[in-house]
């Protein structure tokens, strides 16, 4: 159990990178980038987990119950929302590329000379 979540993180990262490298459609590539980013959320939460602890909210549990690390949760939380906005920006670039060059294949786009 010590390394199972980290093995999952490495697998998700590898799968997402494989998708990015071998993709033939810009929007498929953007979604694979989302998968790569999701591996970092799992890593953040995996690092901060404490066995047998509760979520760090003390509204209905007494104030000194052992809880998981709240700092990595704060990082992951803002990370998720900001990722959506950056994806929108990438999509805008993909749309403009399609308008200018007529193709959405990244391997064809790489050979164009602007």
């Amino acid at each position: 159990m010590h390394i199972v979540p980290f093995a999952a993180v490495a697998w998700i990262l590898g799968a997402g990178l494989y998708g990015v490298v071998t993709s033939r459609h810009l929007i498929h590539q953007i979604v694979c980038l989302i998968v790569v980013q999701s591996s970092t959320y799992v890593l953040l939460l995996g690092v901060g987990y404490v066995t047998g602890a509760v979520a760090p909210y003390f509204y209905d549990v007494p104030a000194h119950t052992p809880a998981v690390d709240p700092v990595v949760q704060a990082l992951a939380l803002t990370d998720v929302v900001v990722e959506a906005a950056v994806t929108a920006l990438l999509l805008a670039f993909a749309i403009q590329a399609h308008k200018r060059f007529g193709t959405l294949d990244p391997q064809e786009l790489a050979e164009l000379r602007g």
């Binding site: 979540p5 997402g16 929007i27 979604v31 799992v42 939460l45 998720v80 959506a84």
Partner: protein, 96 residues
């Protein structure tokens, strides 16, 4: 709202059971990531991404992070598919 739910305090999940749950959801998430990458048609991939977002939300819940669950649910299952489908509609329109 949380006060009403706290009146019937739930039984805590014992560590061995929690371990099994976490490993099961981790395996599902890894399989989901592979499925998202393996779906080559963009429209199909967006639907699989929506399901993957739900799996991730369940994983965050099992890791005792309800705030991140809320964010991931709304972003991963609603906002991201909407943005991607709108982009796809725009691109497909051009191809006609």
């Amino acid at each position: 709202m949380t006060g009403i739910l706290a009146a019937s305090a739930p039984r805590p999940v014992t560590p061995p059971l929690m371990d099994v749950l976490q490993v099961a959801v981790l395996v599902l998430v890894a399989a989901g990531a592979t499925a998202v990458v393996a779906a080559r048609q963009p429209v199909r991939q967006v639907i699989v991404l929506s399901g993957y977002g739900l799996l991730l939300a369940i994983l965050f819940m099992v890791f005792q992070a309800p705030d991140v669950t809320l964010s991931e649910l709304t972003v991963g299952a609603v906002v991201l598919p909407i943005l991607l489908l709108l982009g796809l509609a725009k691109v497909r329109k051009k191809e006609e």
